[in-house]
Symmetry: C2
Subunit: 213 residues, 2 copies
Amino acid sequence: MPPKPKTQIERQQLRTLIIDAARELFVSRGVAAVTMREIAKRINYSATSIYLHFTDKEALLRAICDSDFLALATSLKNTLLITNPVERLHAMGRGYAAFALTHPNHYRMMFMTERTPCDPTESSLQQNNAEQDAYFQLKSVVSDVHAAGCFRSDLHDADLIAQTIWAGMHGVCSLQINMSEDKWIQWSNISDRLQLMQQVMMRGLLRENIGLN
Amino acid sequence: MPPKPKTQIERQQLRTLIIDAARELFVSRGVAAVTMREIAKRINYSATSIYLHFTDKEALLRAICDSDFLALATSLKNTLLITNPVERLHAMGRGYAAFALTHPNHYRMMFMTERTPCDPTESSLQQNNAEQDAYFQLKSVVSDVHAAGCFRSDLHDADLIAQTIWAGMHGVCSLQINMSEDKWIQWSNISDRLQLMQQVMMRGLLRENIGLN
DNA sequence: GTTGTTAACTTAACAATGTTAAGTAAATTA
DNA sequence: TAATTTACTTAACATTGTTAAGTTAACAAC
């Protein structure tokens, strides 16, 4: 009943209300299984109201992902305090996996769902800001490890190294999320798999005299 | 117009006709974007005819995946001829990535799409058959490398090792398939990423005196 | 204070989708 | 020749994302 001009702040509040409701549903039942009408009902609006704030379902999804990317970066922030760069890298890996496996449906939305690629300029997040950009955090740690002379002598490209570490952790996490129920494979313990992957990454990337403590 | 009792063989032929048409469409435009009506039109049947052979869209998807899993195992078969087990493992990794990146939509269907888990007993493929089971191929090579005493002394669990190698390659391939268009990341060359991942896996898993040739 | 105008909504409606129900026609059987 | 079965088809349904067409309240202008 109450249509009146809203302030910028009120609009923003409704926007995040939609995002939070949608996230909760997407996360618990998967993106495809949740309808716009359901999201709307959850916050006592009509489905069409959502379209006043997001051009379509995918834009809504992208907005949710944006705020989840921020959540990932935030959850990794405290590992940045570790002074030893190799230990910090190790801790970031553990933190990343913890995020993935405690929020599997967030993780699926962020990294495993097909999405039309988007401009970083259109994101609400700032690239290369350590508070908001988890990839930048990873790349920074990699650079620090490199600066400390801990990588093997043939490794110089921080992006390449970062992407390889990311791929290793992502491989374990995404197989766990998507395939761990598949009875074809006799899955080892997920913590064993994570641990071995980290060990392999460290042994494979670091000089030989650098231990994992 | 022509309804007449069909032989088992004719039924099977129509089944694979449906599978092939569906695969072609799924692969070129993605599973979600293809409708049952489209698949049917492609082979000049009505949409409902498909339901005489597959209980629903997902069952059709699963049948396609089954035959793609066979294709993967088949495409890796020739690497099994390599006598040196370490080289064989390396070649399997390259073969796996080649399959993933030349058939990205097959790969997405097989390993990246959410599916309700299925009994191995319901599959048309035989588990632990080297002709049909790519995971068994990998595990066998891992066992051979282990038997040759090439792994580090603390590594004994063939499943754990196989799953870690798989995760490493899957990580690189799946990030490439799902995220390579994402402008947030300055992606390195995919062949560099694959090469480094294999190098890291080898260095991380093998004894130190074992080279990659 | 009536009359627009605008903002924030709603209900109706649309086309498309997966799927099911209800035919239909040819072959086989009785 | 009649009945049944098989292999299909066309209709129909409920649900989806999305758009069009209102509706109602606040505010501005005269």
